[in-house]
Subunit: 340 residues, 6 copies
């Protein structure tokens, strides 16, 4: 019997370079180096909570690819499904990120075109993976990067679906990668295969043309497509350093909505990846206790809220820490300031 | 005539290791290195304000002991009363600290068992120290560490008391070192010798079984024991980065309570040691102007409030700076944003 | 024809040394090194917005002078008008700055006496500069430093004025350099030549003895002197880390006041230079669209507000970024949190 | 069928803390943080060369244990065989290391007593591991730490031997852990089970009382015990920053000695772990091509030589890089200075 | 009259990222960030020595392009001839560099394909530049990058030649960009226009098929083509940290060779750019004193030798410092260890 | 009875600022901050070896003065004899230092004019110090700084001499502070009071006009003046990173010369202060065992040799470490590479 993964995600792994402290991209003499990428962030978050995950990606066969591979392992995500590009053009996509401070917004420069990931194809992977996986996740970024990644993603969604895996999809709309109509056309093609769908209210309205209340929008997706669960995050940005966060989940089978009080006045140290942490928390909840959507919602909200306090793309809180945060969020009365 | 110390404190000196910036203990590649320890923090704070202090402690006879000794001197605290452990097992206790950001609390990992300090004994010190000191301070941490430190602390309290020194004691309850009933039994044994007693309202209730208002609790201690002064801090934790702080002091001889308006919305950079800075401010006040408890309260509150803005365990503000902070706190009307 | 500068400013360039992160001047092992100086900050800000500027200054002929010269070029400010001091006493003035956190104010130590700048004289410069410049700017700091810099500044103001350049002057009162009466006497001597005058309400009252409302004060200056434009910043300091900022501009020719809603709850990372950034924004506005004072006001406010979020003395936002900040400040409705 | 490991090693994982650059333990404000440990270093080196390895160790169940676990994964070593200590006394052993510069030797402070590893026992591991492993490695350090680790190591050697695994053992004599006679008595008890034996000439003479030439000593071990292969490193220390390195291997079955020219004038950046890297190279050679001892020798020498150029305990060169270094070492004629 | 440049060079500006200290690309958490590029390095070196230079290049219109532009100015190189790419694909080429330590060679990973520079074209520049420049320099890297950069380079060589500028060309052969025969074919096409030719002996033999002694080879180039001066560096690599360096120059008009004693045992901190620094020194010599080839040789050798001691691609020594190094190299007798 | 000092030294304390790693003063964004000064370096070295020392100096009453004071204490040097300057002009002298690498020499920029130290005067100190001190040390730098420091130094030499203290004097000739003839005239005035005289052979020849062999020169000083001991260092500079070091001491009373084999190929990390460390070692030897000049020589040589390996001005090796270095230097046969 093959080893079993709870979650495999497909996505690009990027080198992330950020100035130290409050310095800017256009000045200073140091970059902090780490890796990130929406789908890796999700796999990493689920792994931290205790499930077995892997990332399907393609890296250059050079020192940066080695760095990325080793970091993937550091995160507890399996590197069994990484493939390598040893062509002369092999490259790891890069993005540069600087944090914001009101009235200055965070800044980002993407340099991900022509990366080795854009050459990923299904025939680079053993078909055995389709059978050994409980859930497959990818996002709109993978669909948007290029024709080849789109084909690969769609072929994998189909193959995983056929083998009975749950299909999770996060729209993750990025206006710098494609237009709204392009996104809509493409994503509507895969929604018939999606079980768990993550879409912000704004994207639902602007890109998918949905109307009505947030609740109506979530339900509308499940009426058009055989989606089981739709989740939508609700973030209030007071300033680049202070956000509120909560979400709503709709379960089409029971026609129920799940909500909880927002995390208010989150100390935002690094906002990147907090949406992916939400997906990770919800997927962890669904994979570890499928019928308990209220619990999945709590994991999603807590993972996302706390990710904002962690530098870099990637979450770093294990299950015990998330459980303490959920308990504190639900608690009333005096709380200890620190455990010692 | 021997040199005279205004304050000697007995306590463990720890190596403190913290990730840089917002990084976490479980990640990253650097630790900021400093020293700390509740009783050293107190001695250091009193020294910064201008009195002569020393620390009674035991260090390993290795490079880390040398580091700690030199840092003690940097702080203006005398190293005359440091003793050294040259056994093979000699070690400096360590603790690892990471700061919090809502909804993530600060994190701490203690690694202080079996340290050289746990072998401290009265016969390692010259008895002359009992005569040359105006005030002796220690805390519940020293009592809780092990049998030997407890015996040493109690013997020293007794010997200093016999020579007429003021005895200052801070409960500093730590649930990871002993239980509430253990703490209560031990501390009640020394309270008959204590002149100045620091105890939080919460500890008074939970550990000592006190009831009634905060004021009633403070007075109750002085009725059961011949304590002259009881001080209790009042901290409101809005988030790991924003606290309010004030305190109340009760003088048993005059049956008076002393209070002042809280410092509100303190920018908390490092909360560790702010309680010790409070003790330092109050002791400085009492030792430099014994009858002026209102002034002692102001020093305690200002020292504590501003310690929150300083990285590491240790305070760093001299008397002139504290005086400016007190003046600003008491002032009304427009204030300069910066002195230049 | 000579090359044309939109703005030349006269002022000292200082080495600025600051502890890293939240460390203090009196502790720690590193200083961040950069340059600053009120008039350089102004020239740099105008240059970032797209105009051609230069700095009139005098540097030591050593490695620190080279550092300063190269940084000036990095900023896009011309080093054509830098002169060098190769005497044995040559030195670059230094200042040490640490940021504040409530209840601790920012701290600054100046070490600028006897610097090479104090030997600056008009005969070190080619008179051609007077003809090739649209606007000349200096501040009260240059007047206050010493007799020689005062003479040089006044001579230059006169010579630029004669050649038709606009004269811009920022009072920038510093109590550690001269007294109020000294400042008043000196500045009143140059106000007959000033076209654009920057003065805070507080300085107007305390130093110049003005009375009445802020509006009345601004107008009063233009009645006493042939000043065309008076601008005054309005900063509310909630804490060293949170300010509000706006300003008012009075146009004597049209007898109009210009105001806009304040930037509220600015995330202050480094407050130094935000007043200079305001001057830069206003001068950019006036030089690029002389009749549009409302636009000049918006540039001034935006440049100043955002400077607070940038470490060091110097601004770092180009015109495109400032335009986005102004647009966001004026916008209503939902805004993107980040552009990607 | 269970997954198969090429190598499992048993040993303590330590937190290693080193001053940055040329700073000393007793000064400065930062420590570089990494992990190390003789047997982990070996497993990591073998893994880098392409085989599947794991580490048998015991970590505290706290943030430092998480850090160590994640770093183990970063290294490509399986964390399947890590067990956790959740007692109150749980701790990760620490060592502090500063590099040397002639005439100052490197400095080290160990703080490893009472660590969680000292509580490791065979019943914490699934017996399945004995069957699924080709080679088991441990060293004299594990034998020396305490009674319990010694018992565990000996029981594991016996159990792996019974299941047919090769037994590799490195004497790694440390005078601060035990005496020569203690080491001799203990190690002589396990040598009847050892297949591959690493012992320096000096230890052979001083601890095991061997006499004669280096060659005679190697052979003598194989006559007294059923050891197949004995390897001995030969290091010449010109200064803390310049070493020469080579080794000699003796194959008892063929009665052959293997040697090659030393790497001369190695640029020593960090000498720690270079002996372990040698073991890793030899074991990789033997496990990947068991009859080719000349090749094993070349891998051992190259891995050790190049480890000296890498900061920290751990090697970082993959097989391709080691192959290039071996080729360059064996080459004659002009070589490229850099590949680009 | 237009402003006059002594030297314009055409070439790509790269972001250079290097691990701090002795860390490796595949590990660690920081990159030092700077810029480099063969032709920029040359322009920067000539500028440091006191001539007026500019760089012809194309940068992305984003924060990294701004960073590169500002750094160019920091170097004293004019940014007048930088053009910007505001397409979606705009990118700054990157290279990652780690230093070597024997037996480990330096490592480099290039990620420069598809950069904005590859879209550079003559019509992006004002033709006035051809008339206002004394010398034009480019290298084989620009020819090798892509079809478009090759066309642009050749067109510019032709246009500058027609306007009477000296043409300087450095072969700079890079096997990862093109093959030897490709390089030969292309370069032979431009040699008829080249006045000053830089070519290593090895490249002359392997790529151009030259035979005979080094001297014969240099002369042979001038017989086949109307080249005036041929210069060839001679580097002996003892280890990645110790090199010797000298060169030979041949003057075809006088049929003279120029040589000097090598700089021996150079402390190599960063070897990158030392060849470009040589070109800069020679060009400075030729442009400032055209008939004195012995002086040009001394500047070339000194600039190159000392560049090895400077981190990053770029030189940092002004004329005064280079003159002191030349004087010390030519001196006999006791020398001061430091000037103070 | 007053406390007794083994050594008091008089000299300026400077802030030392150095670029990190191999960066240069004229580039980069960080300075490492420490303190230094020839006479403080001596006091610190003697204190590290176990004697009681203090520094007579004058600091500004600001945060930098506090920093310097705390660092003095960190070094184990008494701050009892520091006096403070609270004038507006108060300043701490600064020097900037960058290390060299062949063929680039170390670089230094002094900015020490007008410092608070230049206002030091005898009436700022209690005369009791003259009686409580065994040895007084100062150097030619203090004489050279200005008229006032010269007067103060000479007055103190006289007063200490009168009270029976040994007078130690190091010529420390600095051409940037005074000329040779000025130095000679001044120093010849104090030599009648000097007991222990440190002078390099070169200075003896160039400044004092001595002739003959090194030995003859040392003796000549003791014939002209009632000097008891003359010591002269002998440094061979192979490159900025490799020196040899030894010295010769002449004892006039016994007419004996003391020498030992040089430390060869010292790994020079920071050469500054190695001459002062020599003085410290010799003074420690003479003060702890006055008749054993051979031992004093060994301490001087070892302290100086090892100081070269320590970053910053200040030594950091205690007596135990120096004893190990002396033992290793005198030993023959195999030595351990590291003690563990």
């Amino acid at each position: 019997m093959s080893p079993t993964f709870d979650l495999l995600s497909l996505g690009e792994i990027l080198l992330r370079l950020s100035p130290v402290g409050n310095e800017r991209i256009a000045r200073g003499s140091l970059f902090e180096k780490t890796i990130g990428g929406a789908e890796l962030n999700v796999a990493s978050g689920v792994s931290l909570l205790g499930l077995r995950t892997g990332i399907l990606s393609r890296l250059p066969a050079n020192a940066l690819g080695t760095y990325a591979k080793n970091q993937v392992r550091f995160l507890g995500v399996s590197d069994d499904w990484l493939v390598y590009d040893d062509s002369k053009d092999a490259r790891l996509g890069v993005y540069y990120y600087e944090s914001g401070a009101y009235p200055r917004k965070p800044g980002v420069v993407y340099d991900r075109r022509h990366s080795s990931f854009t050459g990923i194809a299904t025939d680079q992977f053993s078909p055995s993976m389709y059978e050994s996986t409980r859930c497959f996740h990818t996002s709109g970024i993978t669909l948007a990067l290029c024709e080849k990644t789109r084909e690969t993603a769609i072929a994998m969604i189909r193959a995983f679906k056929e083998q009975g895996a749950l299909i999770s999809f996060d729209v993750n709309f990025r206006g710098n990668l494609w237009t709204g109509p392009e996104a809509r056309a493409c994503i509507e093609g895969i929604l018939p295969m999606v079980d768990i769908f993550f879409c912000s209210e704004e994207t639902a309205r602007l890109t998918f043309g949905m109307e009505g209340s947030a609740e109506e929008i979530l339900r509308a997706f499940t009426r058009r497509y055989p989606i089981r669960i739709v989740a939508s995050t609700q973030r209030t940005v007071h300033s680049p350093k202070v956000h509120d966060f909560t979400s709503v989940i709709y379960d089409a089978r029971t026609n129920q909505y799940f909500r909880e009080a927002p995390y208010e006045h989150i100390d935002v140290i690094d906002r990147i990846g907090s949406g992916d942490a939400y997906v990770a928390g919800v997927l962890y909840g669904l994979l570890s206790d499928p019928e308990n959507l209220s619990r999945a919602l709590s994991y999603g909200n807590a993972c996302s809220a706390v990710k904002n306090t962690i530098p870099g793309d990637l979450p770093s809180c294990g299950k015990e820490e998330i459980d303490r945060i959920i308990a504190a969020h639900h608690a009333t009365g005096r709380q200890s300031e620190m455990d010692r």
